[in-house]
């Protein structure tokens, strides 16, 4: 009667299988290594920006097309915070750099979370359980949010330079791995661990899933589902804010549209993962990251469709995604 179900290893094997399958096609081991490490790290970044959506869309069943706004917001907040800590970011010391990034991340998460609170209240609450209206109203929220960002920060793109010590790459033989991607792997792993712990070791995950199916019954059992949903939504938004910081730093600039641009991508990741599964989302993100790099190297034209092809292939194999948590 352990809390952990027996792990289904097949989807996890997909990642190494894909990587190994690409090796002969690519030929040069150092190129392969560069692409693979970059792809995995990219997957981690994608996982971070998608992690909030796992909660909001995967578990709470809210088709939040406005998720991107929180991503953009996080990134913009980071530009402001980092700009005010100029000396820390330009210093050539990793520790000082990280000391600047940490508050940037925390403030971004706090602001995105706070906006999430408002968003839940005004936009999501009337439409729980109604997909179509969720799409519309959150799209509306997205447009409003994007425009408000323009009102506050202006319509231009704003540079978000990487702190000094995180620029460039480390060399492993002939293969180069960007330093920043290594940081992303660490952050991604931390997010993953935190989510897995919370969802599997507490009743939160169960309650959300139950609440989506039958709110009234959960309330009849004595849980304040409303408060819980608010909390989870806020957490999801805060994670999106964190994702925005990571994504903005990766792009090294931020635009008001940046959230909208990753919208489809993160939906694909969540769907590949099977709605609501943290592990699934991670695997989905890693696959997307690898696939983009391999096809981008081998046949760039196809790279355009690689995500979609990947999703379709996975859905043909497992029509509910790799780790369906919910039966939706």
């Amino acid at each position: 009667m352990s809390l952990f179900k027996e792990l289904d290893w097949k989807p996890m094997a997909l990642v190494p299988v894909l990587a190994l399958a690409a090796l002969p096609a690519i030929g040069s081991p150092s190129t392969w290594l560069t692409l693979t490490v970059a792809g995995l790290a990219m997957g981690m970044i994608v996982f971070i920006i998608a992690s909030g959506l796992t909660l909001v869309f995967g578990l709470m069943d809210v088709l939040n097309f406005g998720h991107g706004v929180f991503i953009a917001l996080g990134a913009f907040v980071a530009t402001t915070v980092l700009a005010s800590m100029g000396s820390y970011t330009t210093a050539d010391s990793l520790w000082l750099n990280l000391l600047a990034l940490l508050p940037a991340m925390l403030v971004a998460m706090a602001v995105a979370g706070a906006l999430g609170l408002v968003f839940e209240r005004l936009i999501i609450r009337p439409v729980y359980g109604m997909h179509l209206k969720q799409i519309l109203i959150t799209m509306g929220g997205m447009i409003i949010g994007e425009e408000l960002i323009k009102v506050i920060w202006g319509p231009e793109q704003i540079p978000l330079p990487l702190p000094e010590a995180l620029r460039g790459a480390v060399l492993m033989g002939d293969a180069a791995v960007e330093k920043y991607r290594l940081l992303a792997v660490l952050v991604g792993a931390a997010v993953f661990a935190a989510m897995v712990w919370t969802l599997n070791r507490t009743k939160v995950g169960l309650l959300i899933r139950a609440g989506v199916q039958d709110r009234e019954m959960v309330e009849s059992l004595g849980y304040r589902i409303r408060r819980l949903f608010v909390g989870v939504f806020v957490a999801g938004s805060a994670l999106a804010g964190l994702g925005g910081v990571m994504w903005g730093l990766y792009q090294q600039n931020v635009t008001p549209q940046m959230g909208a641009q990753v919208n489809v991508l993160i939906f694909i990741v969540i769907i590949i993962g099977g709605l609501g599964s943290t592990l699934g989302a991670l695997i989905g993100a890693l696959l997307v990251g690898l696939m983009a790099n391999y096809t981008g190297f081998l046949v760039p034209k196809v790279a355009l469709f690689s995500n979609i092809a990947l999703m379709v292939a996975i859905l043909l194999w497992r029509p509910q995604g790799v780790y369906p948590v919910t039966n939706r």
Binding site: A210, S220, L221, Y223
Partner: protein, 245 residues
């Protein structure tokens, strides 16, 4: 004679534009089992939902243990010690039986926190629960779902149980188990308000009885009295002599 645990006074409930309950008066004595009977559409389910706060009364008061709960939110009502088995059972079909039970045990963070003797007691009543412990609840048979719904309500001790037609879909042997279970609960000072169509079942268990029709309570009294008076049964419940139960 005994104390009153739950009291409804002149409760009116609307669903949307429809006026469903027209002034329900109901008294549920503490530690007893009260039967709520009535034809289809009489308003029994609506009454339970109103008590639970799932629909709010537009007029009148619901008092639980001296506290006015008329306008309280559902979770608060549940916290004051009420468990509810809805007519549609309210099974979380995505979740396993185990997870359904874990959620019902509000005090428990993990399964280990659940009182094992109580769990064993439930398994004894409804062996299927043990057998399908890790199965998705949505895949259970109709009767098994009903068992799960009742099991959830009794996994922890509660002051008051509101149960809507627990016997439907259950095999006779299980119904007997359930009757036994309710007796034991009653002995443990749990008050029960039970909606039932199965008169046989009702007769075996009920201490007091209230009969509803058209959104009102049209009769209340002791079960023994109603069980003995067949003409009253047929008048109130449309029960003809020797009817099928």
């Amino acid at each position: 004679m005994s104390e009153v645990l739950l009291k409804l006074e002149q409760v009116h409930t609307h669903i949307g534009a429809y006026h469903i309950l027209h002034g329900v008066d109901l008294v549920v004595p503490k530690g007893e089992l009260t039967m709520l009977l009535g034809r289809n559409g009489a308003g029994k389910t609506t009454t339970l939902r109103t008590i639970m706060g799932l629909w709010h009364a537009s007029q009148g008061t619901v008092v639980l243990d001296g506290q006015d709960i008329t306008q309280k939110p559902t979770p608060d009502i549940a916290h004051s010690g009420v468990a509810y088995v809805p007519e549609s059972m309210g099974i979380f079909s995505d979740l396993s039986v185990r997870e359904n039970m874990l959620l019902a045990a509000r005090g428990a963070r993990t399964l280990d926190d659940i009182d094992t003797t109580r769990l064993e007691w439930i398994f004894g009543l409804f062996p299927a629960m043990k057998k399908f412990w890790t199965h998705p609840a949505g895949k259970l048979s109709g009767g098994q779902k009903q068992m799960l719904a009742v099991s959830r309500a009794i996994v922890e001790p509660r002051k008051l149980l509101l149960i809507d037609e627990p016997s439907k879909g259950l095999a006779p042997a299980i119904i007997q188990n359930m009757i036994e279970a309710f007796r034991q609960l009653k002995a443990a000072q749990t008050t029960i308000l039970l909606v039932e169509q199965n008169f046989n079942f009702a007769r075996q268990l009920g201490d007091t009885v209230a009969v509803m029709d058209d959104g009102r309570v049209v009769h209340s009294g002791s079960m023994a009295e109603l069980a003995a008076d067949e003409s009253m049964q047929s008048r109130l419940l449309g029960l003809s002599l020797g009817a099928h139960q």
